[in-house]
Symmetry: C4
Subunit: 229 residues, 4 copies
């Protein structure tokens, strides 16, 4: 690896380590049960959380580097046990630069019921373009989880999938966008749960969902990337 490639890997290590702080800030993870990865631009590499290491102990140095088959290339720890799923997504979805996995509470409750989250909120139309879909039940230990993620997200607007009986995977053009999708997925899942328990949530007409989604993806934010508020 030449000096520029090394510098780039180190930058991604720092970014991925830092972004894990958003998972704890928003209460999306318990103990060590969630992880973030990022593709290293222009290299067939990904940076991912080490397995079973406390969020407090994460730093650029403790992150690990794998190739896109999930094989450890660099680092002092074993990679996350979810590495195979992340790697599969990077291999099959070239536009994806970041992947996040959590068992965030409300989203995982929808996943436990095998139900997609219907779109009753403008914020969901903005970020997810409609319902948040459910993916199949899949066992860890091979490519099954990765295949389920890719099969569900391909051709779908949503950057988030609820893997049945398991939890959430989100993707984005970079790790920060995938983290944003994970935060918004839990926020939307919680509000949708509370609305369902409260009464009869009112559907948003499909044409309005489409209008909101297209505006949000193309107009909002500081002109460098979609963003809200």
């Amino acid at each position: 690896m030449n000096a520029e490639a090394t510098r780039q890997v180190d930058e991604v290590r720092a970014t991925v380590a830092r972004l894990h702080g958003e998972l704890t800030r928003y209460g999306l993870v318990a103990w060590t049960a969630g992880n973030i990865s990022a593709r290293v631009p222009g290299q067939d590499l990904m940076v991912i959380k080490p397995s079973g290491v406390d969020y407090d102990d994460l730093s650029a140095r403790t992150m690990v580097v794998c190739d896109l088959d999930g094989v450890l290339v660099q680092g002092d720890h074993a990679p996350s046990s979810d590495t195979a799923a992340h790697a599969y997504v990077y291999r099959e979805m070239p536009q994806v630069g970041g992947v996040v996995h959590t068992h965030s509470t409300y989203a995982t409750a929808w996943a436990a019921c095998g139900e997609s989250i219907p779109c009753h909120l403008t914020a969901q139309a903005d970020e997810f373009g409609g319902e948040i879909p459910v993916g199949p039940f899949a066992l860890i230990g091979g490519d099954d989880i990765g295949k389920g993620i890719v099969a569900t997200l391909t051709g779908h607007r949503s950057p988030a999938v609820l893997m049945r009986n398991h939890g959430v995977f989100t993707v984005g053009r970079d790790a920060r966008a995938a983290v944003k999708a994970a935060v918004m997925c839990e926020d939307v899942a919680r509000t949708a749960h509370l609305a369902r328990v409260l009464g009869r949530p009112v559907p948003i007409p499909q044409a309005d969902i489409d209008a909101l989604y297209h505006r949000y993806q193309n107009v909002y934010g500081q002109r460098t990337a979609p963003a809200n508020s």
Copy 2:
């Protein structure tokens, strides 16, 4: 802009930036999805949050200044995507000095069901004078949201409106009062949700609601403004 006008704008910038800390403290916002604005007293200007900027990065300097048509007058960032709604409120409701918008969870669950929050709590009678009303579904991108807010709040005691399928807008004589209304709206929405799920909430007779509201608006606090406890 003369020196005094500039000084006044700077003071409002600092206040609005600081008040955003209450939105995160009370858990009313996820990622960048809520915003506060304030009218600049005596000038046809408002200070508002920039679009898509993290709450951690907000400061007096990063706030933006718009005229009351929502056109950027001063600032390095694009204004909040909700600027048109804030601006419409300032144009149509001259007594309003501050506006807050959130997707706070429980209030937005009521909004997703298109239900107003009935008044079962003395704290709600105090602050909102009765039910918290629902406004229409409205698309972003013009004056529709602003019109829905103004049509719902005009002639109503409540400083908060639940915009259907969307979230909450609150108003106040200044930005701090609007923030207080946003905090109390979520608090009341949560308790009312839990009471509905638990059993049969007991209505408060209208005469008692009236008595509580009038006392609270006229008697409480440190004599400079309504306040509770």
Copy 3:
């Protein structure tokens, strides 16, 4: 007031100011909507929170001192709008040294339904000796709230009462014990709510409730006062 009496008042001011930090730590209060008072031992005085002052701005200095009719004796701010209720309790219940009032969410949901909290938890048997009772609806502005508190708690084991459509009042031999009762009341109210929503909570036989209560009040802690764990 002689030097010793002044010293004692100052000590109570510091204790009451500090204990308000437990209300925010445990999320029992929003904005300025809860308050703590303490009787000054041996004097017909109470120290209480000022009205409408932020929890961040509370200090020994900002607390106010009232007589047991609720009349301001010392302090730069108006006393809490709930002062009359606190004062009534001190006049009628000489064994009470501290009073706490909150609108804590789950307890207030039970109060909104006018339901007492049935005893399905050993922790509730320990601290409250059985159900947590509901008191009457009462308007602020006279002695009605105080009378409702005293009428409900007199002859009852529970140091907490759910005032209908309003919130919680707790009492204790000192302010710390009343704060503990407020914290435990919300904890028990939340668990009881979740159990009700989940399934069929199992009653604890009265003889077991009695045994738990008597042991806890007489045996636990570091021998200076009842305490748990």
Copy 4:
């Protein structure tokens, strides 16, 4: 006690004191209502939380040391009122090196209903190997609680038991593993509660539960101990 034994006790004191910070970080405890203990390796001693002492005031010094009959051996405070239950577990389950007790909210709601938590989540299959069982109602003050814990956990995969109408006890090869089980138990109890309220949680086939459990216990983490992510 020789110097090496003393050093070892001191090390366990520090570990147990520090681990209590995880109980407050994850919101598993209110006031002083939860406790952690650890066996001192190679000695018939345990280190446990003192009774009724604030979590803020816990330190290696304030911890207490008991023998495995629960009799105080060393320390300035009375041991936790749950000491007899911890001691019984250490006497009867030699493989256990740590015990945790909490009244964490969602797990205790299941306990109040006398219902075990069915396994609808891969994370539950990983950590608990299937359902989390309910133990009997038992009064404090003798060995009844300890007996109920041991009878329920013996021959069961789960390191957690929901004691009916009471709360959770978890065990582990050391105190950190028991704390992890307590954190994951509440996380799973919360998601399972929300799924039940939302709809129809989908069961995981027993063969898949078995596969997940065996993999997690034998393959995950940094090769020194089972861990996830």
